[in-house]
Amino acid sequence: MTPPTAEPGWARALLIGGAALLLGLFLLLPLAAVFTEALRRGWAPAWQALSDPDAVAAVRLTLLVAAIAVPVNTLGGLAAAWCIAKFRFSGRALLLALIDLPFSVSPVISGLVWVLLFGAHGWLGPWLQEHDIQIVFAVPGLVLATIFVTFPFIARTLIPLMQEQGRAAEEAAATLGASGWQTFRRVTLPEIRWALLSGVLLCNARAMGEFGAVSVVSGHIRGETNTMPLHVEILYNEYQFAGAFAVAALLALLALVTLGAKTLLERGGTPRSLAA
């Protein structure tokens, strides 16, 4: 007998089957296609594509850009989460909405704004040229565009959690004589560390995988301003499909590792598992 608030077995099976088919065909199959295409002619060409000097330079640049963008957004995200989650002030809702802004802007626009500011015909372009400073079509532009795109990730992960935790623990620390820094380091940070790590991972994955924004500011100079996703595009447009898919597979692996780590963090990041 089926309980009144459950579907009969056949309907249940149908729904589960439908969802599995949808996710399998629509989301999982593309992933499989990446790896299949990358290894279509075996490991050797794939490895060759990845060890090509331009590809190595792209990997290195991608790591560099993420290594700057992620810490900047971690610090900013922590500061924003602290003031928004622990204090009440006028303009708080507006601030929250502004932090979300980059999520609702096209990646191409996220790149465009930097060109408008620092490009050859941008507001500061002539001045920069005079002083021989290159931002757009150079590494600083890539970094700025990446910071813009990944801006909300960490703040967005931390704010709901810190709001839910409230301020009682911090107030308790204050009555026990802790200074502001001690309170943050010993009380707040340990309670948010898993969420923070999860936010950093997501931010990093997006920073390394960002395409649209960096495409606009990159200038596509091989070996110099090409990140991995841009390198994928160049190889693809030159009909070097095996190489393109090999680099794409590397990026897909990064995505899978990120997803796995995030799942582990969400499942294991409860205080109980931290008991030493």
């Binding site: 608030t5 065909l25 593309p30 622990k86 204090f87 191409v108 995988g209």
Partner: protein, 276 residues
């Protein structure tokens, strides 16, 4: 000393001014000032010039494709996302965790990789493209392909917005409906679906907002034929390559304005729904 100024309330927790300062610096440096450039740059065209710039047939066609494609893809994603969320929340079955992880794939997968993979799958000689072509359906290099890629990036937004609401939905409401003589279908239609409607609408809005600006996943599969399968973000890139900064900014501004109007309308619809 005992009378505190009404403007500067004291607080037992430290660091408000410091963290707010960092947040404002970070926010204005990375987001607000660059976006200001986007707002102001089209001014040099003059109102009439701006109007001409964004009403060129090619621009209008690209805006139409970006917005209608996003809306269509998200509309399809609403029932699909509801199905996935329902199965993940309500049923326990082997492989549930895997499916749950797969949902986040479009979040984590770099957009260029997704674009490449979708193109490989749906190209006329691809795993799915070949059988579809045999049926006379062309996906890759058509507006249908654009919508498909937009659906790919948007699906997790619907699932992840509906899931928590569905999880928190009290089972008692459904039990009450069944004790009052409603059939299971009536209960779902009259009790569950209305409770989920705001979340579905919110998911639709987020998926649409993301899809409108989507670039990396779309441009590979789109074919990018002007007037047919060219999306608005690509047109920004095209204009930038012609050093038409103001024209590029004009398209960007038009996209932002339309997105804003769209979100406003959806928000209004949500409010009307709640009042009704």
């Amino acid at each position: 000393m005992s009378i505190a100024s009404p403007f500067r309330r004291r607080d037992a927790l430290p660091g408000f001014g410091f963290s707010l300062g960092i947040t404002l610096l970070w926010l204005s440096g990375i987001v607000l000032v660059p976006l200001l450039a986007l707002l102001l740059r089209p001014l040099e065209l003059g109102p009439l010039g701006f109007w001409h710039s964004v009403t060129e047939p090619r621009v209008l066609a690209s805006l139409r494709l970006s917005f209608l494609g996003a809306l269509a893809a998200s509309a399809v994603n609403v029932p699909l996302g509801l199905l996935v969320a329902w199965v993940l929340v309500r049923y326990r079955f082997p492989g549930r965790r895997l499916l749950d992880g797969v949902v986040d794939l479009p979040f984590a997968l770099p957009t260029a990789v997704a674009g490449l993979a979708l193109t490989a799958l749906y190209a006329p000689n691809g795993w799915l493209g070949a059988p579809l072509a045999a049926l006379g359906v062309k996906v890759a290099y058509t507006p249908l392909g654009v919508a498909l890629a937009m659906g790919f990036v948007g699906l997790p937004f619907v699932v992840r917005t509906v899931e928590p609401v569905l999880r928190d939905l009290p089972r008692e409401a459904e039990e009450a409906a069944s004790t009052l003589g409603a059939t299971r279908v009536q209960t779902l239609w009259r009790v569950v679906l209305p409770a989920l409607a705001p979340a579905l609408l919110a998911g639709f809005a987020m998926a649409s907002a993301r899809a409108v600006g989507e670039y990396g996943s779309v441009i590979f599969i789109a074919g990018n034929m002007p007037m047919v399968s060219e999306i608005a973000p690509l047109l920004i890139v095209v204009r930038l390559e012609q050093f038409d900064y103001a024209g590029a900014a004009a398209v960007g501004l038009a996209m932002l304005a339309l997105s804003f109007l769209l979100l406003l309308a959806l928000n209004l619809a949500n409010r009307l729904w709640r009042r009704a």
